[in-house]
């Protein structure tokens, strides 16, 4: 039931997101669109703000609508969540995730082969420590390949001037 949300929490690695997900699970509250959501999305879009809520933000709305959070509590939790996710760098989150799961990158014979193939194809690429942790997290089953690629893209974008 909460598969998408669980994947999201893993990818953002946020304690606040984890708390929100636990609350939703405890109260059996899932994110649902209401009839008013479409016009409510159209209004900010027409005003130039194309806002899209992520899985955790949608859960917060659902928890408020089902009476498990007041609007004030919802806004405060939303602020905590955004602060946590936006202020910690992607590399710090990846490092923390690897630490929490006790995961380290171990170079395999297949990696050596893959590196040779890449080099022979004209790309001499070396993944840095953070990118290697992402590979290790994927291999240990803590990230899907899609999540890994998206996190790596976020990390590389952040690392670029």
């Amino acid at each position: 039931m909460f598969e998408r949300e669980e994947n999201h929490v893993r990818a953002v690695n946020s304690a606040v997101a984890d708390y929100i997900l636990k609350m939703a699970r405890e109260h059996h509250v899932a994110a649902k669109r209401s009839a008013h959501d479409s016009p409510a999305h159209c209004i900010p879009r027409s005003a130039g703000d194309d806002m899209r809520l992520d899985e955790i933000e949608r859960l917060l709305i659902a928890l408020q609508r089902s009476g498990h959070l007041s609007r004030i509590e919802m806004v405060k939790l939303l602020a905590d969540y955004l602060r946590e996710v936006k202020t910690s760098s992607v590399s710090a989150r990846i490092r923390k995730m690897a630490e929490e799961h006790g995961v380290a990158y171990v170079r395999t014979a297949r990696d050596a082969l893959a590196n040779h193939i890449t080099r022979l194809a004209g790309d001499d690429l070396h993944l840095d420590e953070i990118e290697q942790l992402l590979i290790a997290l994927q291999r240990s089953g803590y990230l899907s390949r899609v999540e890994m690629v998206k996190l790596q893209a976020a990390y590389l974008r952040e690392a670029r001037p």
Binding site: L134, Q152, A154
Partner: protein, 52 residues
């Protein structure tokens, strides 16, 4: 000239990659990570297909 067989590079990034990334300096490491994490499954598939 960018290789753009789908004609949607501007909106979907280079060859519709998952991150919709256009910058080759970012796309290449993404390709490499996908390659590194896909070789085991790919070789397994080949082994099964060849029946070895």
């Amino acid at each position: 000239v960018t290789f753009d067989p789908f004609g949607d590079f501007e909106t979907q990034g280079y060859l519709r990659n998952l991150a919709k990334e256009k910058d080759p300096g970012i796309v290449r490491p993404l390709e490499h990570s996908s390659f590194l994490t896909g070789t085991d499954a790919a070789l397994e598939r080949v082994r099964e297909a060849l029946g070895v």
